[in-house]
């Protein structure tokens, strides 16, 4: 029997798998899973890519993994400080290959709501706001998001508010990986301990599942790499992810 694959590890590993050789890849504020994914890819994959982050880091070699994904320690070892105006301008002029962006709700077009649950003017919950989203999602070559909860509350038919449009290239949840196909999110694969049915039942929008199959299990390198990054298990605990 294979070792169980935690939802947290599933998210980080599958975010890392979106990273491609040679590309400029960015992780931002409030984004520990992508931060870990970028650091994991740097450790484990046998190709190089340009990792830049919201702390101004360019190819950093942080001496420890910070709790905050915007901690200045993420620029440690960097040979330049590529600060906020610089990485946003890089994105809007077409130089950002892969951008990880947060979301509270995602719809079938890959648009996001990070603004409010309920009416924006009379919110049930005021959310953080989109940060880079509205500018980066339409201008990055590819954008990828994640949700630590896979439910009809998070993957919705209709967003309460469109914070950012332009369409996610990929979405990772504890049980599924979606990619954009012909302008809509399509299921690429599901967690091997879940099922296509479970993903359908838990997803608020219709999606194409043609060719979808169980996600390939973590490689020993991916498992060990993530264990090394989260040796005390704090990130896993903080993320409060369950397979559900």
């Amino acid at each position: 029997m294979p070792e169980p694959w935690s939802g947290f590890s599933y998210i980080v590993t599958n975010l890392a798998r979106f990273i491609r050789p040679g590309e400029v890849t960015f992780s931002g504020v409030n984004s520990t899973p992508p931060m870990l994914a970028c650091l994991l890819a740097k450790r484990v994959y046998d190709f190089d890519f340009t990792y830049i982050n919201v702390a101004g880091g360019v190819q950093p070699t942080p001496s420890r993994i910070p709790i905050s994904s915007s901690d200045p320690i993420l620029a440690e070892g960097s040979t330049s400080i590529f600060a906020n105006e610089d990485f946003y301008d890089l994105c809007t002029r077409g130089g950002m290959d892969l951008c990880f962006l947060g979301a509270a709700q995602v719809d079938g077009l890959g648009r996001t709501n990070v603004s409010a649950i309920g009416d924006w003017h009379n919110p049930k919950v005021r959310l953080p706001g989109g940060g880079g989203g509205a500018v980066m999602l339409p201008t990055a070559r590819r954008a990828v998001t994640w949700r630590t909860e896979h439910s009809k509350r998070t993957l919705v038919e209709k967003l309460d508010f469109v914070t950012a449009a332009g369409g996610m290239h990929g979405v990772v949840t504890p049980i599924a990986v979606f990619v954009k196909r012909e302008g809509r999110l399509a299921l690429q694969s599901w967690h091997p301990e879940a099922s296509l049915e479970l993903v359908r039942v838990r997803t608020g929008f219709d999606f194409d599942a043609e060719g979808a199959q169980p996600t390939g299990p973590p490689t020993p390198g991916e498992r060990e790499g993530l264990r090394a990054l989260d040796s005390a298990g704090q990130f896993e605990r903080d993320a409060r992810v369950t397979l559900g």
Binding site: S68, S70, D71, R126, G129, G131, A134, V135
Partner: protein
Amino acid sequence: MTLAEMVALVPDGASLALGGSFLHRGPFAFVRELIRQKKRGLEIVKQSPGYDIDILCRAGCVAKARAGIVAMEGNFGLAPWYRRAVEKKQIVLEEHACMTLTAGLRASAFGVPFQPVGGVHGSDLPALNKWAAVKDPYGSGEDVWVIPAIRPDFAVIHANEVNALGDARVYGTFNWDRIMTRAAKKVFIVAEKLESIASFQARPELTLVPGFMVQAFAVVPNGAWPGSCWPLYEVDYPAVEAYMDTTGSLDEHMAKAPELGIEALHA
């Protein structure tokens, strides 16, 4: 100048751009002094505020926030007092993307009434904020969103080092601080340390804010507490956790502030 004297220059209703991001290198001692001096009706301009706007909302100092993303960050999630203030309509929120807020600051810095920004297409934010789109007059057919100028009364920056002329240096990322200092009417610097003029002359390329643009500065070691100031100190997570504990009081938190010791020295 003492921190208290600097804060005394801020009138009720002022618009303040605050430097740093989330729990990192924010002018938090300055923010706490705003609370001690019972400022009211403030407008806070910051792409990614967190502790600063939360504690100001908790103390009832804020009338309006212009922000891109608001959270405590780290592993603390939403900013609870800010969230409540918005939900209860105690404050007005002008919701931005970080870069639309920056575009507004750029317009002020560049001396133009509006600034085009990439992206934004398809978002509900322009309708919310009544932003205008301008058709490219050079025939690309492209519609571009333009953001009106945002000109804060003050930019307040927490710097690593300042000298007697007011020149300020920051180590590590300067976040959005540079554009804030160019967009605001006045600039205040709170710094960890007073450094010699000679050290600035030796490496003038490192100066983020030239002193002639700075109205006032104060030296407040550990002034970014409970946040970090690279490379001097990290986030004080237990202190932030205690701040977040709704059974605790704001006074308890304020009583631990490092600037209290400094100000006592001046007294």
